[in-house]
Amino acid sequence: MIVGPHDSGKSTLSRILSAYATRLDRTPVLVDLDVGLGMLSVPGCIGAVPLDRNCFDIEVIFSISHSHFSHAVSGQLRNGYSSDVLLRTHKSC
């Protein structure tokens, strides 16, 4: 957990650590509890995202898909995080 006052570089440090972790082929979960200006989506929300090697694009500094209406884009792939979907997909692994 990274704490500190405003503008101390917490988000940057968490990105650096996530980048290191994914390059070492780990899959950490990045939890962003910053309501003011988060990394994952619009301001005013908190969230978590599992990271893997493909999250970091050379072009864009931190490429993470925003939460969108995934059902409308691809009906079958409901990779939202509702808990029963979670259990169904992960029981198979």
Binding site: I46, H68, Q76, L87
Partner: protein, 316 residues
């Protein structure tokens, strides 16, 4: 690439509704634990938690809650000596005797603030927030898009303002659509119940006794008013989670129906732990016909009929 699990708090400062913030942190911790239970790779890789800059008073108590809820074993404190000493004394004083996996011994590390950090003023922050919401709806312009488009544009002018306008004239990555929502088909909700004045309370009760925590956690229907203009609204996931294409509009699950299906449980608790499917922004309000025109990431029906209003506004 997974879609993030998000909860919409609705304010940019956690102090505005502490019980609601704690509620969402707790829910998020439960979901993260649930995921890690089923995925060994994830469990061995751990979590990285980034917090807000709120460290005084209730902010410090919230940090202690986060440490407990997420079973954190390493805390990195950047550039704040007092916070480091408070957390170190907390770590040594609350060292558990037995090794309990959900309550590991805490290591507190102090880091100096890097010289490269820049102080952001309030107007900088507001601008950054506005940009983030714009990026949500319209997408980021990637450097390669910029390079290919700029090379084809005229290179005669070199002033900063013309370059800015050239960059802004580039096409956006995403095209959001405007859809009309008829409010009789949607549950427009917002956190925070009604604060009754003392004169309206029953004689035996006083305002101090009824804890404001109950009011602030309560999701109540939000009336349609001109205040909703430019509000950023979160669309919650549907309570009936089904696979498959959602071709028809979801039927309105009124709060009373939710109460019946939830049985003894509170229907609002169900909604307080439902994560966000996406965000929409109010563009126009038609008070006569109860219709909201909103900007939505994709056309078609919204994933559910429960939408949560916050205090965040965005003008295009």
């Amino acid at each position: 690439m997974a879609t993030p699990l998000m909860y919409y708090f609705g304010h940019t400062n956690p102090a505005e509704n502490i019980p609601l913030y704690k509620n969402y942190i707790t829910n998020l911790a439960q979901k993260v634990d649930l995921r890690q239970e089923h995925d060994l790779n994830s469990l061995s890789s751990g979590i990285i938690v980034s917090t807000s800059g709120w460290i005084d008073g209730p902010g410090y108590d919230t940090l202690l809650d986060v440490i407990r809820l997420y079973s954190i074993d390493v805390v990195i404190v950047i550039g704040h000596d007092r916070l480091y000493s408070l957390l170190s004394t907390h770590a040594t004083s609350s060292a558990p005797a037995s090794s309990d996996p959900s309550n590991p011994p805490l290591t507190v590390i102090k880091l100096p603030k890097s010289g490269g950090t820049v102080y952001r003023s309030d107007s900088d922050r507001r601008r950054l927030r506005r940009t983030k919401i714009t990026e949500y709806f319209y997408g980021k312009r990637s450097p390669s898009d910029l390079m290919t488009s700029l090379s084809s544009l005229s290179s005669a002018t070199s002033t900063a303002t013309s370059l800015q306008s050239q960059i802004e004239s580039l096409p956006n990555r995403y095209s959001p659509s405007r859809i009309d929502l008829s409010l009789k088909n949607y549950n427009l909700l917002k956190p925070g119940g009604i604060q009754l004045p003392q004169s309206m309370m029953p004689l035996s009760q006083s305002m101090e006794k009824t804890s404001t925590a109950i009011n602030e956690l309560k999701l109540v229907p939000c009336p349609l008013s001109i205040d909703l203009e430019h509000a950023v609204i979160a669309v919650l996931h549907g309570t009936n989670t089904l696979h498959g294409v959602n071709a028809t509009a979801p039927t309105l699950v009124t709060l009373s129906t939710l109460a019946e299906s939830a049985g003894d449980g509170d229907p609002l608790q169900l909604l307080l732990s439902t994560n966000v499917a996406g965000f929409i922004c109010v563009v126009k309000i038609d008070l006569e016909h109860d219709i909201l025109t909103v900007l939505s990431p994709c056309p078609g029906h919204l994933p559910s009929t429960n939408i949560l209003v916050g205090a965040i506004k965005w003008v295009e």
